[in-house]
Symmetry: C2
Subunit: 166 residues, 2 copies
């Protein structure tokens, strides 16, 4: 194992991956949400449709993991998508616990329709990056994700907090 890259002693958030990735998220999300502000679907809903569209998720549980949402929240999210006729629920034949989700033609159209403004935004933001740099960034993030996915998602073992929340 190589020398660690970060040390607590001279910690500087501006050089920490946690801070930087979070900051990217905090800066981009408002722009993405603005794109959906006058549409009849939210950014989160669009992400869900895209997740189904691209095969990243096939069930509610997939979607929950994908969005890092609670299972309950995801059920309600899917409810909305079903209500609007964008998603279809179908009890699985192989494993009767799972409910398979699929996009309706309208859902598919709704997902695809909002891709261009998002792509435009990112092209705008990365306009000063070279092709090489963009590629590098994508590759590094992909490796980081692979490493994180290998890491067991540890759940909060101790439910009680130290101090009373009151």
């Amino acid at each position: 194992m190589a020398k660690p890259h970060f040390s607590a002693g001279d910690f500087n958030c501006r050089k920490s991956l946690g801070y930087l990735t979070r900051r990217v998220q905090n800066l981009t999300t408002p722009h993405a949400e603005a794109i959906f502000a006058d549409q009849d679907l939210s950014f989160t809903q669009w992400i869900s449709l895209m997740g189904l569209s691209e095969g990243v998720a096939k069930t509610s549980a997939d979607l929950a993991r994908h969005l890092n949402h609670d299972a309950g929240a995801t059920t309600r999210l899917v409810d909305q998508l079903v209500d609007r006729g964008w998603v279809k629920r179908e009890r699985s034949k192989e494993d009767r616990r799972v409910v398979n989700l699929s996009l309706t033609p309208q859902g598919r159209a709704m997902a695809r329709m909002h891709v261009p403004p998002i792509v435009d935004f990112w092209n705008h933001i990365t306009s000063e990056f070279s092709a090489q740099e963009t590629k590098q960034l994508i590759a590094l993030l992909t490796r980081l994700i692979a490493r994180l996915e290998a890491e067991p998602a540890r759940e909060p073992l101790v439910k009680e907090k130290k101090g009373a929340m009151k």
Copy 2:
């Protein structure tokens, strides 16, 4: 302006920066929160203390921008930090609208105390990265952030959504 890096036609979320950065966030946040699960402060509270500690934020409005939170939510967040004796509010002399925030010694200790486990986590995750690669990733993210900060945070101009939310 160079050739754009992304196109809507052959969109693939696994190669999109929005998807990748969001995924990093979704995968890391649970780990970070697990670190605070048995403590008497939350991850968000710790981030706030760190923001004050590192001078990234000096006021409630700063903190709101920093966390990408609503001003109201931030007021209540600060309330909690003040109640616990970690943060002090002080009306500014120069601009009597602003309330300057500062860490108490306890607040400073609380912030610093939780740095090591976070750093350990990131060292663990990046253990297979070379020093060069880590540096590169940090540099690219930093440039991305600079570009995003230059971009005006567009607010939702049209308040009404297209379809009735009901």
